[in-house]
Amino acid sequence: MVVGDIATGTDVLVIGAGPAGYVAAIRAGQLDLDVTLVEKEAYGGTCLNHGCIPSKALITASDLAHEAGNAEEMGIHADPAIDLEGMVSWKDGVVDQLTSGVEKLCKANGVNLMEGVAHFDGENTVRVSHGGEGQGSESIDFEHAIVATGSRPIEIPNFSYDDEPVLNSRQALALDSVPDSLIVVGAGYIGMELATVFAKLGTDVTVVEMLDEALNGFDPDLARPVKKRAKDLGIDFHFGYGASRWSEHGNGIRVEATSEDGEDTLEIDAEKVLVAVGRAPVSDTLELEAAGIETDERGFIPTDDRGRTNVEHIFAVGDVAGEPMLAHAGSKEGQVAAEVIAGEPSALDYQAMPAAVFTDPEIGTVGMTEMEAEEMGFETVAGKFPFQASGRALTTGHTDGFVKIVADEDAGFVLGAQIVGPEASELIAELGLAIELGATLEDIAATIHTHPTLSEAVMEAAENALGHAIHTLNR
């Protein structure tokens, strides 16, 4: 034992205070377990500090500025000036409010908070090193541990986030002035959300994506209106190219991008480059071997439907446990792990995991696509409603997109839904509940929806699947 070491014990040790870890800790506290939460950096993790929350704050603000500046048609004439420093400091205020809220909620639920970096020191022990020289470390014995260390942005060769013009999402969310021009490498949801933010703030944005499409993983029908709108915002796309190197050029940089077959090279000049090509698990710094915890070849920790790792009393939740790498998935996993540890009959038995992309328009999905349902052996029926036919959508000026509902033809059970359009991230909630409840198309169609709302589109899509929509022609 090194000097300054204190040995303590806890029922449940949670490593990492992101949405997976802090939810696990709070839930464990509510269940009267003695719980210790170790965080090395900031309560709320990636999500609250550098992910979901700051990105959504900047999305709202850039959207407001852009909409107001383009509303002549509505009789509004404005030419908003943007002070990115001010915008970012507003965003930081939002983050501070939420992270201090998380800290308070942890304390109120009896969670012991500990600052430091945790690594395993055995099957039932972690060592927590406190920041700064000579701050020492301490050893903590635990009955159960929950690993919730999250993920970090992947780096690609030749693009180091230490180099000033190369940004990861976290750095892009903390700029203090709007770049004149920006190259975004990667057209996944993070790349597309941030490309949209900067385009709306007036940046000249170019997106370079290795694959053939934006928002890979989502139904191409959903990606289409997003890509179209992005183009209307002036975003240029280069699909089938991977960023290979960059160099200083004039006042900015020049990025070389190479086609898949290596034959073709593009040169794109810009002030900065944002790399958003995916996220890797934070599992390599934990000394998992000391506890015997296994990872897969990519470093994710495999778990069962209770969140358990290969080591019976150790759980892994959130991004470090792999897909779906979403905050709400992590929170659910954290909640279940805590309940399982407390002896409750909990399990990850959800029928559908919703996901949203906060682009313009937004995307919201839950459950199966038509194709997925068919692959699973369902005879499907689908209904669609375009926002173009929604009174509420017209009154907001946002009419791109549609609601699509996929159901089992026989009994009409809702299997999945895909929405692209205004408030898609909110509208998907009703369909998530429908799926969990085992609701049918008829149940949704018979439920009165308030007029005029976007949620009527959900009802109309269900009616369309049943062949009797009112506000659209039935196919």
């Binding site: 409750e344 009959p345 029928q351 699973m376 059970f413 969990e436 085992g438 049918t440």
Partner: protein, 70 residues
């Protein structure tokens, strides 16, 4: 009520019924639903639970049910 054959991987029962199944040690994927269109109800799970152990189906359900947490 009629019930339908559903492919594996989807359970047509609300969360509260799925939880009841776990509490009772019933493998819900083996329960025949009596609700609308074959939706599984509390009653179906309770019936399966009380049949459990005595019939083959019940024994199988108990066996394939997720392990009780320690």
């Amino acid at each position: 009520p009629e019930s339908v054959d559903v492919p594996e991987g989807r359970i047509f029962a609300p969360p509260r019924v799925r939880k009841l199944a776990r509490e009772q040690g019933v493998d819900i994927s083996t329960v025949q639903g009596s609700g609308p269109g074959g939706r599984i109800t509390e009653g179906d799970v309770e019936a399966a639970a009380s049949a459990g152990g005595s019939s083959d189906g019940g024994a199988e359900a108990a066996e394939t049910a997720p392990a009780e947490p320690t």
